[in-house]
Amino acid sequence: MRTEPPLPEACADNGRTPASEHAFRLLCRAAAVTVAGFLLAVFVVLAVNAAPALAAFGPGFLTTQVWNPVTERFGAVAPIFGTLITSLIAMLVGVPLAVGSALFLTEICPHRLRTSLIVGVELLAAVPSIIYGMWGLLVFAPFLANHVQPFLIDRLGPLPLLGALFQGPPFGIGTLTAGLILGLMVLPFIASVACQVFFAIDPFLREAAYGVGATTWEVCRNVLMPQGRAGLLGASMLGLGRALGETMAVTFVIGNAHRVSASLFAPGTTISASLANEFTEAVGDLYLSSLQALGLILFVITFVVLALARLMLRHIEKGDAR
């Protein structure tokens, strides 16, 4: 068992603390406060810049779909809808694949392969998102347009209700493609955190379950998943935070159309894609302010999601000595 290391006070507060000690301590604390201050500064700057648009459109900004730079009428429904729907698709694709991969890597993968595969997954999580976006535009979208979408439109399009999701021309780019690319991008990210979650579970629990004759699946289902539930939720929320704010992987393949359509094949937009596509070319104060208001909305949404993720992951990081 490790003893608690001595505190700085042990050698500093003995009545003759040198001035250099005070100065250094102040310097470190100032640096830390500055870092935390960034978050507040970002919020304040965004809020101030967004204020004209929010004042001009009021709560209607959140409920109208019009996005017309010529008449200077702006509403955030289409980008918010696009952000949420692409992230939802990303989660539906990414989370099961990531958790399945993590179970495979931690529970059944041979030891010799395990380390290198986990390192591989972690390296993939570091690949810049622009690579995913570019691959999505130049390789994946044409593939979908030529081979997958016509088939889905023929088969699923005529269905009642559900069919509305699969109608329209097979462009290749659109909401579905953006969601799939996002899912692929957050996959290694969620998987590597999920591996940590499973590794952090007390090995005695696992051994006890195997000892009473449980199969590997039963150990996963009845021991690992319930034990790691908060951690897995945190990992998914962390991935969701990434997906909501991701710019490059989406901007390439979303099509940038400010409208809400039922079809997953139709082009749409997200908050980050609108910003990336329009911000440098926006003319007029109200236009710029509306885009900043979009940024503010994204900031608030991701802040809430990431804060929840961190709260759920907190106890794992405490128990995790690595």
Binding site: R2, E4, P5, P6, L7, C11, A12, P18, S20, E21, R25, C28, R29, A31, A32, V35, A36, F38, L39, V42, V45, N49, L97, A98, V99, G100, S101, L103, F104, E107, I108, C109, L117, V119, L123, A126, V127, P128, S129, I130, I131, M134, L187, A191, T215, W217, E218, G241, E246, T251, F252, S272, L275, A276, F279, Q292, G295, L298, T302, L306
Partner: protein, 283 residues
């Protein structure tokens, strides 16, 4: 109950186990296959377009020969300036979290905020720096890009610095305290020195993180078609040029984009591998 019944039950459990664990293996295989496809296409597309001209010539107009000299230099300059600003701030803040703030409320709050900054959308950082620097200065500039990259890098450095400083053995602390030196001397001459490889690892990871970032540069450094020696002017960067070229309809621009994408991915992966290697040697 006869023995065969018990075995029948266990056969069902065995099959359920096989099917579901097979699905897990399938998930891993699907994930690895998809990601391998991306890397394969990247190597194929980038490898074909790679030549010495990439390093010698600047970005061309469509239809003529060119390279990526100006975005490569721009990326190096902005990442370098960004890291130079982020490293001292990040290391000092990480030191506060690991040493002085160990039992302070403030430190908990700052750690929480830093963890959120760690995965906050980088395009928001771009918006922030746009209002902070581009609007007052009246033009896009490489310095604004460097500042945006620095803001992305700081949380990474804070986090890793705190983590490695916590690994400094208690016996070293006790020895230093027993000598009666001020605590800051312990931090500078003992803690930082024994954790320097770890701190360097964190800085390398931060470099890897920012060298692939595109979104914070879009509204800050913008882009520049020409070679420019001034960071005060709009500055080209590899990721932004890849974005512009890959979205264009010109085949030769798309080829250059693949080459740039390969360069970036290779350097990011190399930096990550170096960081891992250093981290392993430390233990």
């Amino acid at each position: 109950m006869s023995r065969t019944d018990r075995f029948a039950l266990s056969a069902r459990r065995r099959w359920r186990n096989r099917i579901l664990m097979g699905l897990c293996g399938g998930a891993a295989a699907t994930a690895l296959l998809a990601l391998a496809l991306i890397l394969w296409r990247l190597i194929l597309g980038g490898g074909a377009a790679l030549s010495w001209d990439i390093l010698r010539l600047t970005t061309p107009p469509p239809g003529s020969k060119g390279g990526l000299l100006n975005p490569i230099l721009g990326s190096l300059a902005m990442s370098g300036a960004g890291i130079a600003a982020a490293a001292p701030l990040g290391v000092l803040a990480g030191t506060y979290l690991a040493e002085y703030g160990r039992h302070e409320r403030l430190a908990h709050a700052i750690r929480f905020i830093n963890d959120i900054l760690l995965s906050a959308p980088s395009i928001i950082i771009g918006l922030f720096v746009y209002s902070l620097m581009v609007v007052p200065m009246g033009h896009f500039s490489g310095w604004a890009g460097a500042l945006a990259l620095a803001l992305v890098a700081v949380p990474v450095i804070v986090r890793t610095t705190e983590d490695v400083l916590r690994l400094v053995p208690a016996s070293l602390r006790e020895a230093a305290v027993a000598l009666g030196i001020p605590y800051w001397r312990f931090i500078v001459s003992v803690a930082w020195r024994s954790a320097r490889v770890g701190i360097l690892t964190g800085i390398l990871l931060a470099v890897a993180r920012i060298s692939g970032e595109t979104a914070p540069l879009l509204f800050t450094a913008l882009n520049n078609q020409f070679l420019s020696s001034s960071m005060n002017a709009p500055t080209a960067s590899l990721p932004v040029v890849i974005f512009q070229f890959a979205m264009s309809p010109y085949a030769d621009w798309q080829e250059l984009a693949w080459a740039g994408a390969l360069l970036i991915s290779a350097s990011v992966l190399l930096l990550n591998i170096c960081a891992r290697f250093l981290a392993r040697r430390r233990r």
